[in-house]
Subunit: 293 residues, 4 copies
């Protein structure tokens, strides 16, 4: 029985590219963190150390910078598709590529009430993400685009319950009909195709997710995620499935009774660890949802 | 020659207190990270292990939560003054206290264009800070309030030069008349007294700092900081001095010439380390500015 | 076409459990970070908010603490198997469980040359990991144990080349026959069964990995990982496959020529980002290696 | 009343320099993170943007790399003294300099029981630190060397009490005669002069600190720090004072009573925040200990 090379990929992670558009005095700016991963038959590189088929990760980094100029950075989904197709179509040994992009957003600084032409403040509210995979060549080529966001921190100061749950001999949690519900949401949605208006789809899906968090009287974080997911799929036929990973950022009611104070949902201790972690995918029933890792 | 106890203090660091105001359906929320440090003659606790004069750090934590209810959390400067005075005035062995507060801001989520009553999204643009020290008792008591901010990330995509600098045999940096200037600003300003409208002062000083970053055609980060500081002191007589710590978040022009591409200030590599670090204090000339650490 | 719940799981992440064995004056200590994930038909919890089948994540946390006493924490693989089987076998709605454990190691402090009975210093050299999944019940139950490590930072100051690689129009990297090779290794190996001496297997696999990093004259990080993997599989028939994720922690030769100094592999700049990232699995050819994410 | 420039300094922070000694096949390696800060009359740079007296931070970085070759990196205190003196003595406008160095230690990998010539594993047990300040020129020049360590994580599983403390109306903490005591120690000690064997002094002071943590039956963290400090000053006449910053990494006894289990100091929850923070300086009584920040 022999030993063989299984799944493998390699690339350059976290290339920090900033693109300024300055064709007019009113600049535009795009700020991204790009990671590339290439796939193909790289057995020789592993088994015998022969690098003849290996495009250096340094070259991949150079390509990220060069494409920021050649193709520009418009929507990150489009930039990632350009990069992925380049590696698969133009570098012979590369049969598949995965490009991950994080985008950090900047807002114009306001001076005397007027948005400034070339001065910016980081909007650290959430990070927009895109993952593009391209597999195969020619007419068999498959392009998969998953857009998403992370670090979107949401909180409801009421409108959340947790009760009626299963209890065993290790259960001590009391039921509650009014708690703080908070999460730092990570979400990714896979598009069925690539003929999508990336920017407006992102904005609207982000809006739906946030509004559903507000609208739903939550019996559990699971229910809130389901409501987000179904609302997105109903409004966006171009989305095939949407996944969520939602840490439950626990806010524990401070016990003020030793000090003769009541605490009707007013003072909380925001805890770091441990945290509940709820993960789910909402999918059209003709799609094969991805499994667990 | 003997060995003695020098400067010492102790307290509870990073108590995460969240205060919800829910007197009406339209909630308000305050989210803070509080650290307390107490000073006094705690020699016995060190030398002989006698804790009779030591108020536990656990008690200090409890007090942070209890005061969030008893005094409320309005402006963080006020909350910190309440805590500091409590420890100095009511706990006999405590002769001085320092309270540090970080405040994380939340914005109302908008649903159908209307700000929601009890649903929030973290605004991660900057963290507001306050440090209050109270020393001594009675009429000799000194209260010092320093307000500030951190993690305010600013960038100019033009309007920044760096040239005419001193060169020695280790100097290789070329001069430039057009570069990206970016920083993650930390600033703290000491008020001359405590009769201050903390919230509106904060908002206006923050506005001035950001606007000066935009307005100033910068010959160096030093010049920009000076302009921020003088503008704040000129507009706010209640501020005695203002300090800045400004990492220069370098954006290096990507070299695209090997690929036959020019790069007139369009594509940059945002580097992590090392970074220039510029620190200064701007002060009224009748004030003794603090020295270096 | 309908919308359905796809893959989902929930649990408590990062419960920090410390277990002291103090049956004799010579204590033992185990320090772990445990995450639990439960799987089953939790559709009702999502769709209608009905929590009747949901064992709270708080209960899962309690179970981690209780099992540290009831079952003890010996080898982390065993502790994780106990937890996973408990949830699947004893909680009716739970059909599958995944338990992740990180173990932080402590060494005895030496006093006068003698290891101390109850005083410890954190050995921060690497973190030992284990992931256990249990799926199904009774005779169909499948238990999968993957052990591993992370944060193992290795460096060779010579004995590493990178040349003969594929070049395209974006390639500027010069070839080298002598460079620094460094990585912060993450590795996980899946055992074919559960009848394993977890502790000694871990120690020996860790030894092989480190020794191979030293022994192999590296033509690329890929070759080094392959050598590690094959050596582990050859020496440990109980291991079915082994995976690696290896960031290339680049050490760039400092250019000292402007200062009239040569630099024959002596002074390096250790860079943070971007970094090459090499990932591969080495597998017996009768095993189906896992695919990419 | 005017506005003036107060305290100010500037420099390059966190230059990551790795120095390999390869004069024989048995290499040596030094891995440091260097930050430089220069002081002098830099008013013009701030007020008018005139950089004529400003040595760029880029040049300071170059000097760190060049000195790693020219002077080598032996003990970090010596390397820092070289750098600080260079800036003050050779760059005319610079009147003072502060150099901070962190050193990361590497151990040789063992192959077949033999330490390897050029392969290393990061020893992440603690980081060694040095801060050197040079002020003034010629015979008035003052050189101050403070050595230290950080991230030294220590734990006692018994031999620690906390009782007899001051209680007020916010005190709920029960007394204990047996608890876990743990900290991630930061310490810095100022040498009276520069005629010191830096390496052996560091090793011995580190040994004393760790042994005192083990030896002392602790009535509070304060007492343990005092015992460390006095032992260092008694054994090392070249040390003028020593400071400690010790977060109390709380280990809370898990409440297992709801599950019918007792817990006599066996199962703990290791908490992140908040944490007690104990800070003190131990000093010879002819030295003026530094005050608080």
């Amino acid at each position: 029985m022999g030993i063989v090379l299984g799944a493998n990929q390699y690339g350059k992670a976290e290339t920090r590219v900033v693109r300024v558009y300055r064709d007019t005095p009113r600049h535009e700016i795009r700020d991204v963190n790009v990671s590339t991963s290439l796939r193909g038959d790289f057995t020789a590189a592993h088994v015998s150390g022969d690098q003849a088929l290996v495009l250096p990760t340094d070259t991949q980094k150079n390509t990220c910078f060069a494409y920021a100029k050649e193709k520009g950075i418009g929507e990150i989904e489009e930039y990632a598709v350009h990069l992925a197709r380049h590696f698969v179509d133009e570098i012979e040994p590369v049969k598949g590529a995965r490009i991950d992009v994080e985008e950090f957003s900047w807002e114009r600084v306001t001076v005397d009430g007027i948005p400034h032409d070339h001065t910016w403040v980081r909007n650290q509210q959430e990070v927009r993400t895109a993952t593009v995979t391209v597999d195969g060549e020619g007419s068999d080529q498959q392009v998969t685009v998953t857009a998403g966001l992370k670090d979107l921190v949401l909180l409801k100061s009421t409108g959340s319950e947790f009760r009626g749950f299963l209890a065993d001999e290790y259960t001590t949690l009391p039921e509650t009909t009014d708690r703080v519900l908070a999460t730092s949401l990570v979400s990714g949605w896979r598009y069925a195709g690539t003929d999508v208006d990336w920017g407006s789809a992102y904005a609207d899906i982000r809006r739906i997710v946030v509004e559903q968090f507000a609208r739903v009287h939550s019996m559990a974080l699971q229910q809130t995620l389901w409501a987000m997911g179904t609302a997105v799929l109903e409004a966006h036929p171009e989305v095939a499935e949407i996944s969520f990973s939602a840490p439950n950022r626990h806010h524990f009611l401070a016990d003020l009774s030793p000090f003769g104070l009541d605490n009707p949902g007013e003072v909380f201790h925001a805890a770091d660890r441990p945290y509940g972690l709820i993960e789910c995918t909402v999918v059209r029933d003709d799609e094969g949802a991805q499994g667990h890792t």
